[in-house]
């Protein structure tokens, strides 16, 4: 077999069909394999046929964009989201909201508990997902079933990683055998091992034919594509092995599987909990949660369901299609969830039960939603601007529920898929202009609003963020999710109110005039307790304003969320008058207003 260099010359990244607009095509079931820049892979046909129980190679589906088209695409995205402004965006990629195919494979496959995974990677690729981040998302001390070949300089420059990978496989097998466990070993490639052209298909096949090898396509695929592909691959791989050969039939028309929940998905524990409740309420028998509650040995159960529920739009759908059964996406909101339940009932033939469930839920689970709606807190909803920056399921689900069902003023909505499909630099500037009341997003957005001094409340709605959501009491999906979200938003409004209410001092008037004096730049006044408490206020309200200053003032106040306006206008007016006084001017000018603006912006 001819062996190509790591960077073979016939490698043409643009050979595949054009990369379309979002959502990108995910891996499709196919035996086709892409021409990858990796050694030992070039003679594809001969290679595949030479192996019994052949390994399926995933087709390389994410397009390797040329620099120009990639830029074009980001520009187009920017324009769609930000309009004219977007076209002028500087090309500065800030942070990344989504990881790559390697992380996707790690998170999708390690949650299967009888899987032992060995990643062919340098130390950081092991410790970042396996210990550093998983502590702060899923609250796991570590991914215990993950080990690494720990690539060092010598493997990069001379040896390659095969020896280390085989050694790791041997040792893990020995360890598990000593304990009498039967585990499925999976070796996964990383960005670095793919770059140095490490490929262990042949050596594994030779020495450990029971171990699987998964190419994570770490450069070409994002985290969601990686998860999607890994789930599909695992299913197809098993089908090829002797234990996967037997015919599996659907258990009953009401057997339901949930596909998708895996490690490091935002709020997935609570959402899954709610989803299960809905499935059962609609008359379904919950059969298998893949991969989260799965064992590799039980994978036949994937074929036993009548209907599949795909938890996220970002990944899992390809497997659902491959299974060939009807499938639904997990729902958000009160209307969305009702549709979901009724549709699920229709698919299972349990319409009556589904209808009865909806009716009962309205009186129980959903009743708080109706009550909050009837009360005064709801009055502020339509003046409440929300920006949503999250993965597709959450972005679309939140927009539908908060915007269409509750009538909040949903402004910027960004459904993120790929790592750099949003110009975060632009987003930051855009949020500064739009000044939403709430920003729902990840740590990145939280930093942007803090950096730009935007007085918006931040509500978490997406990874990356250190946020443990293991309690099942905080769903965003389903009926309980609708209630929880409405309650959260309403309480956040109360919080805004708390921040804008005046915080007058409790001390004597002396303290008060002192603070006025020192603000005016004078020495702390030797005041007596008899100083007029409202003197400065009287002087503020009578003070003359130029017409321009008034116009600027009005414009600025326009931008303040409604609920905070009265208090903000008070603060701004007082500060502007004080500033004018201390500058010895006879009327307030626009400059004075702008000068004090930073002081009153939280």
């Amino acid at each position: 077999m001819p062996k190509s260099d790591t960077f073979s010359t016939d490698f043409d990244p643009l050979a595949d069909e054009d990369f379309g607009s979002l959502p990108p095509k995910l891996a499709t079931p196919s035996n086709q394999r892409s021409k990858r820049a990796s050694s030992g892979l070039d003679d594809e046909i001969g290679f595949e046929s030479s192996i019994q129980n052949g390994f399926t190679r995933r087709r390389n589906v994410a397009k390797l964009d040329g620099e120009t088209s990639e830029r074009e695409r980001i520009r187009r995205m920017a324009e769609n989201v930000f309009g004219e402004e977007g076209l002028k965006a500087p090309n500065i990629p800030l942070d990344t909201p989504v990881s790559n195919g390697y992380w996707g494979a790690v998170f999708a496959l390690t949650c299967i508990k009888d899987v032992e995974m060995i990643v062919d990677a340098p130390v950081g690729c092991y410790s970042l997902p396996a210990t550093a981040t998983i502590n702060y998302t899923d609250a796991l001390p570590e991914l215990e079933n993950l080990a690494s070949s720990n690539i060092t300089e010598i493997e990069v420059t001379l040896d390659g990683t095969t020896r280390k990978v085989l050694d790791a496989v041997r040792r893990i097998k020995a360890r598990e055998a000593a304990k009498g466990h039967k585990k499925q070993l999976i070796v996964v490639s990383s960005q670095e091992s793919e770059l140095i052209g490490a490929d262990h298909v042949r050596s594994l096949q030779h020495k450990h034919p029971d171990a699987l090898y998964f190419t994570s396509h770490a450069f070409e695929e994002d985290e969601w594509q990686g998860r999607d592909a890994a789930l599909l691959w695992l299913y197809q791989e098993r089908k090829k092995r002797p234990e996967g050969q037997k015919e599996v039939s659907v258990k009953s028309p009401t057997t339901i599987n949930i596909i998708g929940p895996s490690y490091s998905c935002f709020n997935s524990y609570a959402d899954l909990h709610e989803l299960k409740r809905l499935v059962r309420g609609a008359g379904g028998e919950l059969h298998f949660v893949f991969p989260f509650e799965a064992a590799y040995a039980d994978m036949d159960r994937l074929d036993e369901s009548a209907v599949n529920v795909v938890m996220y739009r970002e990944f899992g759908e390809t497997l659902a299609k491959e299974l060939g059964k009807p499938y639904l996406f997990a729902p958000f909101g009160m209307q969305g969830t009702t549709k979901f339940i009724l549709e699920l009932g229709r698919l299972m033939g349990t319409e009556e039960q589904a209808k009865a469930f909806v009716k009962k839920e309205k009186k129980e689970t959903l009743l708080p939603l109706w009550d909050i709606w009837l009360g005064a807190p709801q009055d502020f909803y339509s003046t409440c601007k929300v920006a949503i920056i999250a993965n597709e399921s959450y972005a679309q689900g939140l927009k539908q529920f908060l915007g269409e069902e509750l009538g909040l003023a949903v402004g910027t909505v960004i459904s993120r898929q790929r790592s750099n499909d949003t110009n975060n630099y632009m987003l930051r500037n855009h949020l500064a202009k739009e000044r939403p009341t709430f920003v729902m997003g990840s740590m990145n957005e939280r930093i942007y609003i803090a950096e730009a001094n935007i007085p918006a409340k931040f509500l978490p709605a997406s990874l990356p963020i250190p946020l443990i959501t293991r309690s099942v009491g905080t769903p965003y999906m389903g009926y309980r999710g609708a209630v929880y979200l409405m309650q959260t938003i309403t309480n956040a409004l109360f919080d805004v109110l708390f921040d804008v209410l005046p915080r007058e001092r409790r001390g004597t008037a002396a303290g008060r005039s002192e603070s006025v004096a020192s603000q005016a730049g004078g020495p702390p006044a030797a005041t007596t307790p008899t100083a007029k408490p409202s003197a400065d206020l009287d002087e503020v309200s009578g003070f003359p304003w130029s017409a321009d200053a008034k116009a600027v003032f009005d414009q600025l106040i326009e931008k303040v969320p409604w609920v905070a306006r009265i208090s903000a206008s008070d603060k701004l007016r007082n500060a502007a008058v004080r500033e004018t006084r201390s500058n010895n001017l006879s009327e307030v000018t626009p400059q004075m207003v702008l000068k004090v603006l930073p002081q009153i912006m939280m």
Binding site: F7, F11, C111, L128, T133, A147, S149, I151, V156
Partner: protein, 448 residues
């Protein structure tokens, strides 16, 4: 708890001692985090991280948790960019945009594993654009094995640049070096305490690195002595040496440590011996007094961190009366660790450099400590057994440790944790039926 119980089959010991060169569980963050931690905390500096999306995601995550709230400029790489040669151009393009839109004082370009493998030409980056200094940092995990050492890369690269600038402007001190610079991330009050102590010897504390002001880096090459409070700053030592700055290793931790450190400082500063002797004695006495008041007598403590400062902490614990049964760290043995390692070995304290997670697990089995201060995964294993345990980085690295003021906070913290022994045990007992002997659980279930 009888150690027999600990030993009986509850180990997840992965590697019998045979081929120790193959470590599947090295204990360190992705090394590049070290350089991010230093650079993100510098005001007026924009960090640029060049690597695969997976690296950026993970490093973004931990840096925004542990370093600072600063966005990171993250050009992600596609295969095409890696295999063709326009990667350097792309990075330069982004640097230009950053300069145009933000005009920072400094840009740190950190190059991770994959660009290092495929050949990002950092040497082709402009040195300076407008007023912006552009500082390259190579931090591939296979070349810089721990995040501690990546801090060294960051600091040494910045010093190298400011030194070159000073030389170009004729602003080097031409042998007129004076004062002390301290290098090593310590608690903010530590350098203050240190400054007071050395000022008694007539020594001026010039600067403490890492620092949030770039100007602090300009001060380091002007110092007569640079104290490496942590032992892994070999590159920084080399840079400073080229200006004639002399390194001083170890740190004034514990009574003996304080005495010898101050004396060595006096020697390097060429100060009159009797005076120095007296001051060193007095400061050491203050530490000893504190140590008399704050005891951990008989407490068997295991220290298994990866920060690189474990040796100092071990010295302090030993002097406070604790029985330090094991010390491990991820950094390598070198000039900076010489004195502390010798000190610990003289006291028969087992000491391991470049350790693996498996070594710590073995030690935990063998030693049956009362208290574990270690990495987050060893912490979890210890807690499973009902042993009070904390994450070194969160607890030790976040407290003062130098001189007399460094005794009480850490001893108190250890006492506090030990005082909760019952809580740790009750937790273990409550969940005893959840994990089996190998800690293997049923698949996670979200029950309703």
């Amino acid at each position: 708890m009888p150690s027999e119980e600990l030993k009986s089959g509850r180990s997840i010991n992965l590697t019998p001692k045979e081929s120790s060169e193959c470590s599947m569980h090295s204990a360190t963050m992705c090394p590049a985090f070290g350089s991010l931690r230093v650079t993100m905390r510098i005001e007026g500096l924009v960090p640029v991280l060049v690597g695969a999306v997976g690296c950026l995601y993970g490093l973004d995550f931990v840096s925004h948790f542990y370093a600072s709230n600063k966005p990171i400029v993250s050009p992600s790489l596609t295969t095409r960019e890696l295999v063709e040669t326009d990667l350097t151009d792309k990075v330069i393009g982004i640097i230009k945009e950053v300069v145009e839109h933000e005009n920072p004082q400094m840009i740190a370009v950190m190059s991770l594993c994959t660009p290092e493998t495929s050949g990002l030409h950092l040497e082709l980056l402009p040195r300076k654009l407008g007023r912006t200094e552009i500082i390259p940092m190579r931090v591939p995990a296979y070349g810089v094995p721990t995040h501690a050492e990546a801090k060294d890369v960051a600091i040494s690269q910045i010093i190298k640049r400011v030194g070159e600038n000073m030389a170009a402007e004729g602003k080097t001190s031409d042998g007129q070096l004076d004062g002390l610079a301290v290098i090593g991330e310590v608690f903010p009050t530590d350098p203050v305490q240190l400054g007071v102590a050395v000022s008694r010897m007539g020594v001026r504390l010039r600067t403490a690195l890492p620092h949030k002001d770039i100007s602090a880096y300009y001060d380091a090459p002007k110092a007569k002595v640079a104290a490496m409070l942590h032992p892994f700053y070999d590159r920084t030592v080399k840079e400073l040496n080229s200006f004639g700055v002399q390194p001083l290793y170890s740190a004034p931790v514990g009574a003996e440590g304080t005495y010898s450190w101050l004396k060595n400082l006096g020697l390097l500063m060429q100060l009159p011996n009797p005076e120095i002797e007296a001051i060193a004695d007095e400061e050491a006495q203050k530490v000893a007094d504190e140590l008399d008041q704050n005891r951990l007598d008989g407490v068997k403590i295991m220290i298994a961190g990866y920060e690189g400062s474990e040796l100092l902490f071990a010295r302090l614990m030993h002097e406070a009366g604790a029985k330090v049964c094991y010390v491990s760290t991820s950094i390598k043995e070198g000039p900076g660790t010489k004195d502390d390692a010798a000190w610990l070995r003289r006291r028969n304290i087992p000491l391991l450099f470049r350790k693996r997670h498996e070594d710590d697990l073995e030690a935990l089995d063998e030693m049956a400590p009362d208290l574990v201060v270690g990495s987050s995964n060893i912490e979890a294993v210890a807690k499973r057994r009902g042993i009070p345990a904390v994450y070194y980085t969160n607890i030790v690295a976040g407290r003062p440790i130098l001189l007399a003021a460094g005794v009480r906070p850490l001893v108190d913290q250890m006492k506090l944790i030990l005082s909760q022994l019952n809580t740790y045990r009750n937790m273990r007992d409550f969940f005893a039926d959840v994990d089996d002997d190998d800690h293997v659980r049923e698949p996670l279930k979200v029950g309703i």
